[in-house]
């Protein structure tokens, strides 16, 4: 069973859920690089810009096609990792709720720090920062909820 050929729809759904977590972590890193780029000066900002661009290209070239191949592998309705009954789908949904809470708290914190932060950075940088926080919350909580706790034996 290779990465692109899961045994059945349930295994495909788990695999897509895992990929969603990794893609979110990767996207969080890219948004964080964008924030870093805005707050630094050349040549550091140029390096960060290049790294963000390469990261974005990797998501488009690697993650999206892989995701699509697995999603459509079994014909019929596309495999949807958010709507499965399985453990990994539940982890995705819990991570989504945690990310919402994290984003909401971050926004409240930012409004409390308005004079310190909001007056000094552009709206574009703030949006990148909030997206980075939101995606990082999602990815970290997903990996935490879905971590292997040693229940993996498969004996008869």
């Amino acid at each position: 069973m290779s990465f692109f050929s899961p045994r059945n729809r349930a295994e495909a759904s788990d695999r897509l859920a895992g990929m969603t977590g990794y893609a979110a972590a990767f996207a969080a890193l890219i948004y964080a690089l964008n924030v870093g780029q805005a707050l630094t000066v050349p040549p550091v900002s140029t390096y960060l810009d290049d790294a963000g661009l390469i990261g974005g290209l990797l998501i488009v070239i690697v993650f999206l096609p892989s995701f699509f191949i697995i999603k459509r592998r079994f014909g019929g309705p596309a495999v949807n990792p958010w709507k499965s009954d399985g453990f990994m789908s539940a982890a995705l949904q819990r991570a989504g709720l945690t990310a919402f809470a994290g984003t909401f708290l971050s926004l409240i914190l930012l409004t409390l720090l308005d004079r310190l932060i909001l007056e000094r950075v552009s709206a574009a940088v703030l949006l990148d920062l909030i997206l980075a926080i939101s995606l990082a919350c999602f990815a970290m909580s997903f990996f935490l909820f879905s971590r292997d706790e040693g229940e993996g034996e498969d004996s008869v």
Binding site: S13, D14, D85, F87, M88, E151, E153
Partner: protein, 69 residues
């Protein structure tokens, strides 16, 4: 607060001589789902509980029970 759920899934599976992967394939879930149900880490949906009971030809209560029962 809901009471913890216990289950006899590992016993039933062993009695049937099946691996987690075999059972997972039979009821159309992933092996990770079966393994996390067995150790009580994941509380399955009603649909999965019913599929498991039907597969082993027992009632849902024969597979799952509240810990304080």
């Amino acid at each position: 607060m809901s009471a913890p759920l216990t289950n006899r899934l590992r016993v039933l599976r062993a009695e049937s001589g099946m691996s987690q992967s075999d059972l997972a394939a039979a009821i159309e879930v992933s092996r990770k789902t079966i393994s996390t149900i067995e150790v009580g880490r994941f509380v399955p949906s009603t649909v999965i509980a019913l599929r498991l009971a039907r597969f082993f030809k027992v009632t849902v209560e024969d597979v799952f029970a509240l810990a304080d029962d």
